[in-house]
């Protein structure tokens, strides 16, 4: 008993070992990609990494805690606008704007989550849908957010005196952020709170009966997802140097959700795969011209039909 009790269960250890090699291979490819790729490929790859971060963040909310969030892009917007406003209007250092964004995302998460997470998940979906639109409309109408035309002149970040300018700089920056997010997800999914999310997702009443505060567990998942999206937003704003409300539409929330569901909710490799597909699909299908939305829809329907649990589903299901 003592040996089993202190180490990872056999199944988990096996999964870790099995995913270690492909993971390292993928990382190696990601590291050397800028040596071979042209600017266009790198731009698409950077977008893919952005979606990896966003999908992993949303996966905490949807995949771990089982909460349907239809307005996730709002937190992405909170991060992007916080960095935008602080650096462009108030001359803040980019790095200082990150903790401020995280706090702002937490506050937004509490404002929207605390009253609604007591409700069952279908109500939450409606409220989050509204929240996403509210954030976008506020951004369109305030002076400080630059209205419909958005913000320009967002400061580019410096790392030890080296200014991030070119596309490959941001590619690596997003790669670091994606790796950091994977590390965070791995750390929490096997922790006490992470398990609590799964207990709540699988049986809320049994979870409450065994001593888990379900509202607090859901709120923590919601805030954690919000913080990850906001950090992605900070880096996104710095890369674009200009942001407008149209980057944070309902469509954006849907795309992120699509990445989570497509790859396989709840499991990190699946979500990473789904995120990359969401970013790549429009580019790959560029040749289809005006038929692109149709081909995309058919491809997605086929995937949902033949792999209803996602392309790379959670083994538990």
């Amino acid at each position: 008993m003592s040996e089993e009790a202190t180490s990872l269960p056999a199944g988990q250890r096996q999964t870790l070992r099995r995913s270690l090699l492909p993971g390292l291979a993928a990382l190696a490819c990601a590291l050397v990609l800028p040596q071979f790729a042209n600017a266009y490929v790198l731009e698409v790859a950077t977008t893919a990494l952005l979606y990896v971060v966003l999908c992993l963040g949303l996966n905490i909310v949807v995949g771990y805690a089982g909460l349907l969030d239809l307005g996730y892009a709002a937190f992405f917007a909170v991060g992007a606008y916080t960095t935008g406003i602080l650096t462009a209007e108030f001359g803040f250092n980019f790095w200082l704007s990150i903790p401020v964004s995280m706090v702002a995302a937490c506050v937004a998460g509490i404002i929207i989550g605390a009253p609604t997470l007591r409700l069952r998940s279908d109500y939450l979906a409606i409220v989050t849908l509204g929240f996403g639109e509210i954030v976008r409309i506020i951004a369109r109408n305030l002076d400080i957010t630059g209205g419909a035309s958005g913000l320009v002149g967002i400061e580019r970040p410096e790392v030890f005196g080296f200014k991030l300018m070119q596309v490959q700089h941001f590619y690596y920056a997003f790669l670091v952020l994606a790796l950091l997010t994977i590390f965070v997800c791995l750390s929490v999914e096997r922790s006490r709170m992470g398990r609590a999310w799964f207990y709540v997702r699988y049986d809320e009443d049994a979870a409450a009966g065994i001593g888990i505060n379900r509202v607090s567990a859901k709120l923590q998942a919601y805030m954690m997802g919000a913080v990850i999206a906001s950090v992605a937003g900070c880096l996104y704003a710095a890369k674009m140097t200009a942001i407008s409300p149209e980057s944070f539409t309902f469509n954006q929330s849907l795309l992120i959700l699509l990445g989570v569901v497509l790859g396989g909710m709840g499991r990190i490799p699946g979500v990473v795969l789904g995120a990359i597909l969401v970013a790549l699909l429009p580019e790959v299908l560029r040749g289809a011209g005006t038929y692109r939305p149709l081909v995309t829809a058919v491809a997605l329907l086929a995937i949902m039909l033949f792999r209803p649990n996602g392309l790379w589903p959670d083994k538990r299901v």
Partner: protein, 254 residues
């Protein structure tokens, strides 16, 4: 002072009086039972005790502390654990993870310390895991620790529910029809297990059960319900001889 004291508990759904002025108590270290025909209000009473239903009136005290109307997770943290009539495990998770869930309210590390991999967080994780294994071992299913809970046999799922509840280190454990669906051998194992819970861990047991043989064998005191009212309360011998109990179970002669 009794470990559990219920005074004048009332519960109604609309015009339906589910529980009417129920009073009884459970002494520390006892094994007691609640019996009564179907629909008598036994499970509703459990749901009031564990915070799933809010009673209309009356009071519930656990070890002298009022727990009436508290949310379920607070009541569990105060030392009252339960099992469910229809087994409610986290079927998609491992047996060990199920058992570990009971330890949630006895541990405290959150997200930040998990991300930072603090040594104290690692130690706590190991303690949670060890406690989960210990309770799986106690109920006799430790060899299945890494299987999915949904893949266990029915009897083992019942045991796992017990292990999960015990892992919250309760003072009082409420078992809602623990013998339902078990065969004779499993039932006698269950009787032994219930006695071991009390004798080896000191946890007080209150159970709802329809199997009269099991109830008479294991209980020191029995409270009998009918139509939301308490109609008898006493030792198995006394309860069995009570005319009102016989009437509730067998009906009256015209």
């Amino acid at each position: 002072m009794a470990l559990l004291e219920v005074r004048d508990l009332r519960l109604s759904f609309g015009g339906l009086k589910v529980l009417q002025d129920i009073s009884f108590s459970v002494e520390k270290g006892a094994i007691n039972s609640l019996i009564g025909p179907n629909g008598a209000g036994k499970t509703s009473l459990f749901n009031c005790l564990t915070g799933f239903y809010k009673p209309k009136g009356g009071s519930i005290r656990l070890a002298g502390r009022p727990i009436t109307g508290l949310p379920p997770h607070r009541i569990t943290a105060l030392g009252l654990a339960r099992t469910f009539q229809n087994i409610r495990l986290f079927k998609e998770m491992s047996v060990l993870e199920n058992a570990m869930s009971g330890q949630h309210c006895r541990s405290r590390h959150g997200l930040v310390s998990a991300i930072l991999h603090l040594p104290s967080q690692r130690r706590e994780e190991e303690a949670i895991r060890a406690a989960g294994m210990r309770w799986l071992d106690f109920v006799g299913i430790a060899e299945h620790a890494h299987r999915l809970a949904g893949g266990l046999s029915y009897g083992d799922q019942r045991r796992l529910e017990l292990a999960r509840a015990l892992a919250s280190t309760p003072e009082l454990i409420l078992l809602d029809e623990p013998a339902a669906g078990l065969n004779e051998r499993e039932k006698s194992d269950l009787v032994r297990l219930i006695r071991r819970i009390r004798d080896e861990t000191g946890v007080t047991v209150l159970l709802i059960e329809h199997d009269m043989g099991l109830v008479m064998q294991v209980s020191e005191r029995i409270v009998v319900f009918d139509y939301g009212q308490k109609i008898a309360d006493g030792t198995p011998v006394a309860v069995r001889a009570d005319p009102r109990v016989i009437e509730a179970y067998l009906g009256t002669e015209e």
